[in-house]
Symmetry: C2
Subunit: 341 residues, 2 copies
DNA sequence: TTCTCTACTGTGAACGCTCACAGATGCCCG
DNA sequence: CGGGCATCTGTGAGCGTTCACAGTAGAGAA
């Protein structure tokens, strides 16, 4: 097969100008906003563009403007965790589409190895993208630090935990979501409420646990360390955590699990231990991922507004690229009641 | 916060040349292969590059070479189906990493709406990417046709079904995988083997069904239309298909399901109908997705070599960009035995 | 010596665009 | 009627690179 047909040389701004009977400058002005052009000229140019099928050469434009009109979507560190997580897909898709609306392509960047990390950092700091959407649960991510230091516009998904310079971020209100869920479990009359936390070096992990603690304290339920176990958001870790929980606190009557994926594992473990859900043990998840309805009983869970998160990330990043000062954005979550609690 | 620090103007090839005491041309030669440069000059240039932190400006390079040194990863049509599919992630990651090794960024392109389709087609045909990795199960995909007609290097994942000009593709050997699975079920002594096919407007759907038929014919088992039901690769469709199957052919003693996701649904339906797996009904999946081990019993399934598929797609695409004629690549699958069959 | 060949190096032009600036036109106001 | 202003248009320069070409130097052959 091969390149049958080949690619013809595309028309340039010059061709359009000649076709429309105006100068390059006028065509350029029409292309960029259209200020200070007469209606007649604009019309002629647009017609010529249509006729010639002209598309701007972004390389030439970028060369002079210094902008690349593209942004990077950077995933650092534990790729498996995210790639297994359906929310990642929703986020990636949302960002891609939000950017597409601005005609800005998204470059996918996966920093797994140190070598990749170096390459990507160089690529970004060299100005090949205008800004970066960062997904990194890691505390004190060195790539993020370096990019921030280089003054690269940066918006993180989720609160970047740890230290260092301040970074704009967009996140769901993890703590408040956790509070809602635990309140719901309390409302069901449960008092021995366990928790399977996420990794405690991630903001989500920390915040969801904090919400759990707050509500119990508020309600006057005394805290019991045996009711607290932790996982790493994976299904398998949820299963293992639930086993530990059952061993440490056999009288548990509800579990708040910090992710649906882990909740799947918890359900498996409970089933094996012959505990009925929700009669014996109510289970609450977090994420409202597809997994939540795939299991039986369907999971009561906390929905994170991923579509809004991605849209906000893009909005904030573009604002930052535009030179504005941007702050953190926290979006509300929603309790989704299903069969498991 | 905002742009504290700001971005300094990066060094150019000119700066490097001055620093190394040579001309632009020599630096450029070192950058591109290093032929016809004296060892001394090359050394001086490399030292200067290291000292200045120079990174080539890809826009300037692209402007003159006409190459963009980037490729698009294009997903057309039913986005939900793919985004729910964990294999998609593996593929995407594999392609990104394989390209990264060549220092080529991957642009993610999602063609959902007609508007997006138009925009993306224009973007690609304008030469903003050198080639396209295409994921599209759709028959006669108009975007693919248009790209092919424009002479854009193109490699599809899976055999593009239907008509039109020939397109290079990389695929797992669906038919052979199906054969392996059905042979395995026969080997277990099952004779009333049902099948839940994928959508029959996709190559995978067609090929896997063909493999099923071939083996049964070979084995002298007479075909029974009641044993054939179809789904769309989604979990829910698998569940519905299994219900139909049980109603039409209650004596079914094995089911070959064309995807693990659907197999999950099949398992649910069988459980509800009080059929034990694998004792009453053996179940074979396809994909070896994470879902395969997440369910109980764990799925016997066919593993597709996704890591090799992505690597091959990139290899073939780069060859095609380099002007070579490329053909289809078919990779072998592997039977993974677990509890369900 | 002179001529040729190879290895290497520097120079200008060009890629397609935007931007700053200068010029032109028309209008309103003094 | 001239000056100021707003609106519109064309022109040249330059963004950072590669590429073709010309040119230099040294080695080896005639």
């Amino acid at each position: 097969m091969g390149n049958t047909g080949g690619r013809r040389k595309p028309p340039t701004i010059h061709d359009v100008a000649r076709e429309a009977g105006v100068s390059r400058g006028t065509v350029s002005r029409v292309l960029n906003g259209g200020h200070y052009v007469s209606p007649a000229a604009a019309e002629a140019v647009n017609a010529a563009i249509r006729r010639t099928g002209y598309v701007v050469n972004r390389h030439a434009r970028s060369l002079i403007t210094g902008r690349s009109d593209s942004v990077g979507f950077l995933l650092t560190e534990p790729q498996e965790r995210f790639f297994e997580d359906p929310n990642f897909n929703v986020l990636l898709r949302g960002c891609t589409q939000a950017l597409a609306a601005h005609d800005i392509p998204l470059l996918l960047m996966l920093a797994g190895t140190d070598d990749e990390r170096r390459r990507i950092t160089r690529y970004i700091t060299a100005g090949h993208v205008d800004g970066v959407l960062l997904v990194s649960s890691h505390s004190g991510d060195p790539v993020a630090e370096e990019l921030r230091a280089a003054g690269v516009p940066l918006v993180a998904c989720g609160k970047p935990i740890g230290l260092g310079s301040k970074v704009s971020y967009v996140a769901a209100d993890d703590r408040d979501g956790a509070r809602d869920m635990v309140r719901h479990l309390l409302g069901l009359g449960r008092r021995r409420i366990g928790v399977v936390t996420g990794p405690l070096d991630t903001p989500g992990g920390v915040e969801r646990l904090a919400g759990y603690r707050e509500v119990l304290a508020e309600a006057g339920v005394e805290e019991d360390e045996r009711l607290i176990v932790s996982g790493d958001y994976s299904r398998a870790s949820g299963e293992a955590a639930a086993e530990r929980l059952l061993a440490q606190a056999p009288d548990v009557d509800a579990v708040f699990v910090a992710s649906d994926l882990m909740a799947q594992g918890v359900l498996t473990a409970l089933q094996r231990a012959d505990r009925r859900v929700p009669e014996d043990v109510a289970v609450g998840g977090f994420d409202d991922s597809p997994a939540a309805v795939a299991v039986s009983p369907a999971l009561t869970t906390i929905r994170q507004p991923w579509d809004r998160i991605s849209a906000e990330m893009v909005r904030v990043l573009l604002a930052q690229i535009g030179g504005e000062d941007t702050a953190a954005v926290i979006l509300p979550t929603e309790l989704v009641k299903r069969a498991s609690a």
